[in-house]
Point group: none
Chain length 87, copies 4
DNA sequence: ACGTTTGCGCTTTAGC
DNA sequence: GCTAAAGCGCAAACGT
């Protein structure tokens, strides 16, 4: 009984926290829409802008992937740049 | 030329602002995932939690729709409830 | 060769069946538009009608979700209500 | 009062008819999904199939557009092939 | 690790 | 012509 109440309370806290974060996410999505609207009103092409954002995101991901790969090689070869595991 | 530079600068600002907001959005999405992971580790059923969140969201949306519908009816019948535009 | 022909024939049948169904779907969509037009000509507010339809659909979906949630709870608690798999 | 009841009844009929048609539309959409599933199980690539359907639809629309244009020209030039408006 | 299933974002379309 | 909504395709998440 007490355990159940505690569990219910804990679950409620999780749900509330999630809903709070979901709202934050929606707010930011709305802000993004706003920026696109502003740009559109200034005469910019929204579709093109979205393509640019997408391309830059892909570039960045690719770049990060490259760095991760490079890091993996370094570790495999003992060329550790990290200071995480001083021995 | 000067005009173009200004346009380029302005566009760059828009793109940067959007990318900043997109990052914020990703951060929050990651936080949400984290909360679900925590809950899962505590023994809660993630699927059930997601259904609860979804259902509560639907309740809220439906409530808002009900109000919108009521408002639309009022307007359609000339029963303008608003006092916003007394002149 | 013979095999390929059979495959081509089979694929063609799938495509034809899909296109037939897509046409049916379009026809029905056109009929729905017609009903709204008729109603509009009779003086009804289409926007209100669409909101009503939407709302009733949401009600139904929510009811189904509620049942799914209940079922999920039952399963999570080992209270399998189904008698489908007696062996 | 009587008028309102008649109006309500009429509106209800419209709503019911729309909901009936919407259900039909959903049924057909489900059938289409089924066909794609079947094809998938037979080893066909659904994504490619969808592209084919889309292309054929575009072809057809283009063809119809061409015919409409041709018809417009004919009418403009008095080369009326239609027997719709014998005077 | 794969395949399925669900949620999300985009695109296209209908209405004002 | 623009805005809002529905339909579609994609991608991540989940279970097997």
């Amino acid at each position: 009984m007490a355990v159940d109440n505690i569990a219910i309370e804990e679950l409620t806290m999780y749900i509330n926290r999630i809903e709070r974060l979901e709202n934050d996410k929606s707010d930011i999505a709305a802000q993004i829409s706003e920026v696109y609207s502003d740009a559109k009103n200034k005469g910019y092409d929204v579709k093109v802008m979205k393509q640019i954002v997408k391309l830059r995101k892909m570039d960045e991901e690719e770049r990060e992937e490259q760095e991760m790969l490079l890091d993996t090689y370094k570790r495999a070869l003992g060329m550790v740049g990290s200071i995480d595991h001083i021995e």
